[in-house]
Each structure stands twice: as structure tokens, then as C-alpha cells.
Symmetry: C2
Subunit: 414 residues, 2 copies
């Protein structure tokens, strides 16, 4: 009987812990087939440094509470392992740690980079003749993984952005007669506009202009659009992706701004856009940058998203027990209305290093909104509310004990 290793990778989400919960609760249901589930402290680094959290020492209640707790309960990391040729020692170290702790299942919870690492671990395990079943559990607010219909973490961010766009639009609408006429919300998504697209889910009666990374910023057309909205509706709401670029390829946010001391100023896209409007059209504005708030907002998680995150963690364990290797469980959409989905899977070789961009026909012709097709795709993903329990006015999120397994190997420098 083999133990399992689970790690969280890259930017965390409101529901990555729900996947962890799915993995651990499911593994606990098969005590004759899976031994302990060790979690990497701070992701894959925990495996390299042999900092393995023994999840069997966490109470049932605390593991269940992961299902409603945002962030990475075991710590995540931004650490992309180099290629096998460049740093074989690291991969060999992984296998050594796995061997030392009798680990036969490798569950890696992350996005595109993680799929690549996961694939390499699987390949190396073959060539090193130590059997490891490597299974990726999809996670990314960017929604850019192939094979799966959508990625856990995205639905909850989309819900947060849609709700925030709605609420802020109501606000600016009631101020517009004498004060603020334009509200700008900056959202995540450096390469793909999936998150920005969620701002288009509000009712058509609300004038929203979206700036996508996929569409070169056309300042003139944009200002005209905003001006027309203010004239027609009294106000305008703008959702700008952090990845929106000028036609010359620079990010909007890279404005070359300097402070009093001549230091380069890291701005946001939102204040840049707001200032353009102020200078050209003269409208009073407000702007917000959601940043981490959007991906940590478990208080407003989408119910579909929480269920899928859990189900994918569960499926990963079941696939491992069924002997699968080098795969990723995936969401297969069956229908939009009513929303139905099932779990399928893809091969890691078809997933690693492939980015799924927004289809062209998801963006309206003028480049400033989403199409009905996009709306039909997105709406089911924000369906349903799944509130965490509260205690004294605040969500009752769990902090795990994180007791570690005894080390068996000499230290390793990363």
C-alpha cells in the first residue's frame, strides 16, 4: 500500500482547498488502498525540502472546513521546475523523497506550469524505475487550461466580478446626476480576458465597456463608446483587464509614470484608463483594483465552482486507484440549461504548456463586450451561492495544524 502526495501550485483561489478536501476525504474512504496523504508545505518546495505535512493528523472537521476556506491551506508556491536537462537533480530528489516516504500517488493541484511538472514527474518515474502515478488536478482563475470545459477557481472569480460590476454600476448610476459618471474596475487576467468577460454578465440595461487583453486598446473608439454611454445612460462602467495592451504591445499599466524622486511607478490599468477619460471627456470618475480580493472571495463563491473543485479532487483519487497515470480529470459540459456536467479526463501531454484563449466569437464585434455565446458559456459557472459559516461577523475559515512527517533524508538545497 502506497502513500499519496498532494501539493498546491501557483496563485491560490477561493476553491483550491475544496479540491484538497476532495482528495483527502476520498483517500480516507479507501484505507486499505491508500495510506497517508502527505501535503507539500508550500507546494512542490515541500517535496524538494522534505517538508511533508501529515494530513492524517488533521481532524475530520478541519479537513471538511477546507471546503469553505479560500487560499492554499498547505501553502502554495511560484516555483517552476526547470527542464529535465537543466536540472535533473531536482527531479531525482523528488523521486528520492517519494521513495523515502513510500509515495506512489502524486496529485498536483495547479495550472499549465503544474501540468508540465506533473508530466515530467511521471516520465522520470518510468525512466528511474520507481512507479509514481502523477495526476494533475486543474486549478486556475485564468480559466486557460485545455481539455477541461472550465477551471476550478474561475467560476468564483467570475461571480465576484459580475456581482461587483453590478453593485458598483448601481452605485455610480445613483451618483451620476451631479457627481461620478464613470467607474473603472480593474480585474486579473494577464493573457486572457476570461475574468474581464464576467463583467459582461450583468443585465443589458447596464452600460458596461470591457477592455480585453485579446483586443488592442483603441483609445479613440473606447472614448467614443464611453462618451455615448454617458450620454445615453447617464453613466458608464468599465471593466479593464490588467493585461490590456496598447497597439504597440505595452501594457496599459506600463505608462512610464515616475514619482517625485524619478522612480518608476507601478501603476494599475484602472487609474490610467480613468485619467484618459478625465482628460478627454472631463467626466468625474472612480476606480477600483480588485487584485487578490477577487480570487480570495470565498464569501461569494459560486456553488458550481465549489462542487466542481471538490469533485475533481475526488476524481483524481479515484483515477489513481483505477491505475491511471499522467492524466488530469476534467469538466465536460453536457448542457447549459439546465446546467449539467460530468467528469472526464485528458492526457497531460495534451495539457502541459497549452493555453486556451477566449474564442474570437466570445467577444463582440466592436471589441468592448461579450457575445451571447460567451454569456451562455459563463452563466452556469457563476450559478448558485455557497456561503461559508460565520462566527462573530466573520467567515469561520480553518487554519490547519500542519504537523510534519519526520525527515528521512539529508537536506537538499533548492
Amino acid at each position: 500500500m502506497k502513500n499519496a502526495f498532494y501539493a498546491q501550485s501557483g496563485g491560490v483561489t477561493a476553491v483550491i482547498n475544496a479540491s484538497a478536501c476532495g482528495v483527502i476525504e476520498t483517500a480516507r474512504k479507501y484505507p486499505g488502498q491508500i495510506g497517508k496523504v502527505y501535503a507539500g508545505e508550500n507546494g512542490i518546495i515541500g517535496a524538494l525540502t522534505e517538508n511533508l505535512i501529515d494530513t492524517s493528523l488533521e481532524s475530520e472537521d478541519d479537513i471538511t472546513a477546507l471546503n469553505h476556506t479560500p487560499s492554499g491551506g498547505f501553502g502554495s508556491c511560484r516555483y517552476k521546475m526547470k527542464s529535465l536537462e537543466e536540472n535533473k537533480a531536482e527531479y531525482e530528489r523528488l523521486i528520492e523523497v517519494f521513495k523515502a516516504h513510500n509515495i506512489g500517488y502524486f496529485f498536483y493541484n495547479g495550472g499549465g506550469d503544474s501540468a508540465d511538472t506533473c508530466l515530467k514527474v511521471s516520465q522520470l518515474s518510468e525512466s528511474m524505475d520507481y512507479p509514481i502515478q502523477a495526476i494533475q488536478i486543474p486549478k486556475t482563475v485564468d480559466n486557460d487550461l485545455p481539455v477541461t470545459d472550465n477551471c476550478p477557481g474561475f467560476g468564483s472569480v467570475a461571480k465576484y466580478i459580475a456581482v461587483s460590476t453590478l453593485e458598483a454600476s448601481f452605485d455610480v448610476s445613483s451618483m451620476a446626476a451631479t457627481s461620478t459618471k464613470v467607474f473603472v474596475l480593474e480585474v486579473m487576467g494577464r493573457h486572457a480576458g476570461w475574468i474581464a468577460a464576467a463583467g459582461g454578465l450583468v443585465d443589458d440595461s447596464i452600460p458596461v465597456v470591457i477592455l480585453f487583453p485579446e483586443v488592442d486598446f483603441n483609445e479613440k473608439a473606447f472614448l467614443e463608446k464611453v462618451d455615448n454611454n454617458v450620454k445615453d445612460f447617464g453613466y458608464c462602467t468599465i471593466v479593464v483587464s490588467e493585461g490590456t495592451k496598447w497597439p504597440d504591445g505595452r501594457f496599459l499599466a506600463e505608462q512610464g509614470t515616475r514619482d517625485d524622486f524619478g522612480h518608476a511607478q507601478l501603476g494599475g490599468a484602472a487609474p490610467i484608463v480613468a485619467n484618459l477619460i478625465k482628460e478627454s471627456l472631463g467626466y468625474k470618475f472612480h476606480w477600483a483594483v480588485a487584485d487578490y480580493l477577487q480570487r480570495a472571495a470565498r464569501h461569494l463563491a459560486s456553488s458550481s465552482d465549489v462542487k466542481q473543485a471538490y469533485a475533481l479532487g475526488q476524481a483524481a483519487v479515484e483515477m489513481a486507484l483505477a491505475g491511471k497515470n499522467s492524466v488530469m480529470p476534467a469538466i465536460i459540459r453536457i448542457s447549459n440549461k439546465p446546467y449539467k456536467w460530468e467528469i472526464g479526463f485528458g492526457e497531460l501531454k495534451d495539457i502541459a504548456n497549452v493555453e486556451k484563449m477566449m474564442p474570437e466569437d466570445y467577444i463582440s464585434k466592436d471589441g468592448f463586450h461579450i457575445t451571447k455565446k460567451c454569456r451562455d458559456y459563463l452563466l452556469p459557472l457563476i450559478e448558485g451561492e455557497n456561503y461559508p459559516p460565520y462566527n462573530g461577523g466573520l467567515p469561520d475559515y480553518v487554519v490547519l495544524k500542519k504537523s510534519k512527517a519526520e525527515k528521512k533524508l539529508p537536506p537538499f538545497k533548492i
Copy 2:
């Protein structure tokens, strides 16, 4: 039998419509004593221009739905009426409009400026010999009105900031090993630090540093504090009020920043603080500016706040029927644990133009956190969740019909 006039004033909140709901539903219970409730379209401007929304034409369901709808359902305005000496014509116009529509009750839902207007209307009605009972209904996210223990709108913002601080802290905590170590959240509050203080409501195990407008920014002590937190906890969360100032009185956000074209750049305090940390300590950071999202977030309203907003609207009507004039219903706190409160009232002359600042003993000695006394004051205000109904993944907020009463007077230019 007289009609009533109701108007929303200044920045809107997640619960000002709950007060409107309290006014209208209560007035409808006394059909023999109060005629119609007219609402000013876009606040007091609606009275001056005789744009009166006839709320009797709104359905019962829509009025009830105001209780869970953020923003100003009738439109608000930023329009401070000048002194009686400077612009008596405007006040006389108000009285003319009230006379033309047989209005005997003036309910003004706003903050300090509104109390001043409300008081003047009451005084002028005496001197012009047209009886008007003028009653202020408190509203302000700034929580800076005297007499009342707290202001409707504040509790929900405080809950949003406390929850967001908690969630973002969980996020940065799980990223800190290899990536972001500092998260900066900018919150509202130009003069008083009430909203920033809400960031201190998270558990003591979370290292939060608060920058208040009441405390001159001490860069050296601040950077030391942040650095110590990162060393002790691995990360640090900063909640900075937009009103935080350098010792010379300039706002942090007024950094004199210029863009490529030499235009003054309207920044936020958050990116300024984040850059200071990056340059002095070298830590990777993320920052967010909550702006309108915080005050529009009805999806996360505090239950205490919604109840009090409604109760104050209801009380305003009951006070009017009891013959009161030139007053404001107020929250009187009876106990913290369990939280008990009742409705009292204050005289407008004691409220107009008085700002209630945070008591000194609510801020910790080092100036970077709140005291237990402050915590005990704030906690009951964020108690309880009061979720709006959802439809297709989004809150089901109401947009009123806003049919207007026929005009009876010549136009008036404001």
C-alpha cells in the same frame, strides 16, 4: 392630511435603500395620516426642479426589494445648499414645491451636510409660515455623525473590509514562501479612520498594519513594523485609509506623480505604500483599491446594519406622526454582548456640521492597530449576514419605475 417628501443625499451605501423602504412601508401603514410619499429624483435636486417620484405607483414587492438593494434607488446627489443668506431663493423654492404638492413632512437621508440642509428647511418653514416637519435619517459609511452610536451604511462597509482583509491575508499567507509577502488594501475614509479600523477585526494571529488619517504617516516606524511582521509571520497585510497623510499634511496619494506627458497622476494611497515597501524592503507586493465596491457590497451586508437602516426610516415616520420636528432618529447602544440597541433621537442643531472622530483610545499606542475598546465597539456592527435573493447567479436587485408626479410650477434653474 399632508404628503411626505423623501430624498437621498451624498454618497450612497449598501443600506440607504433599506431606510427608504422603512419610510415608505411605514407611511403606507398610516393611510389616514400620511398621503403620498414623494421621493426626490436625484436627491434634493428633485425637489428644486419639481422632479418628484410618486412612490405610490411602485408595487409593494418593489418597495420591499429596496431593503436588499444597494445604491440610491431614487438617485442621490452631491449638492450642498448654500447658506440662507447666500441663496435664499433656493430655500424658498423648496417651500414653494412643498406647498404646491401639499408636503408637510421632509425626510432627508444623509450625513452631516444633509443635517444642515434639513435644519435650514425647518427654520425657513417657520419663518415663511408654511409648516414642515423636517427629519433627518442618518446615513454615512464614514460613521462620523454625532448623537447616534453608529451610522447606517458603516456596518456593512466595515464587514466588507474585515472580510476582505481576512480573505486577502489568507491568500498572501499561502503565497509568501516564494512570492508575494505584502498585501496593501486601500479603503475609504478621507477624514476619519473608522473604515480602516475594520481591518483590525481579523484574528490577532493575522499581522495587520493599519494606516489611519488620524495618525501622521511615520515612514520609518511603518517600514520597521512591516519588516518585523514579514520576519515573524512570513507576510504582512496593510490596510491604508485614503485619508492617510504625510507629517506635512499632504495626502499619501498626492505624491506629485506625473505621467509621460507631464500630467498630474491621480494615484491611490495603496500603490504609494506598496512602492515604498518595495524600494526599502524589497518585498514582492500586491495591492487593491476597494473604492465603490466596499460601499455597494450589499451581497455582504451586515445584518445589524440592514435592520438599523430600516428601523431608522420607520422611526422617522413615527416621529413625524408624533409631531416631532428638526430631529434625527439615532441608534442608542445598550450593550455589546449580547448586542442590544434602541432608537433614540437628537436635535438637528446638535448634529449639523459636527463631525465625530475616532476616539484616541480606539487606536493602539504605536498608531498601527485598534485597541480592544475599538474592537468591542465595532464587532456588533458587522454581526449577522443578510443575503439578497439571487437569480441566475446574480443578486436580484430592484430598479424602480420612478414615475413622476405632474409638475405644477414653472421651471427653476439651479
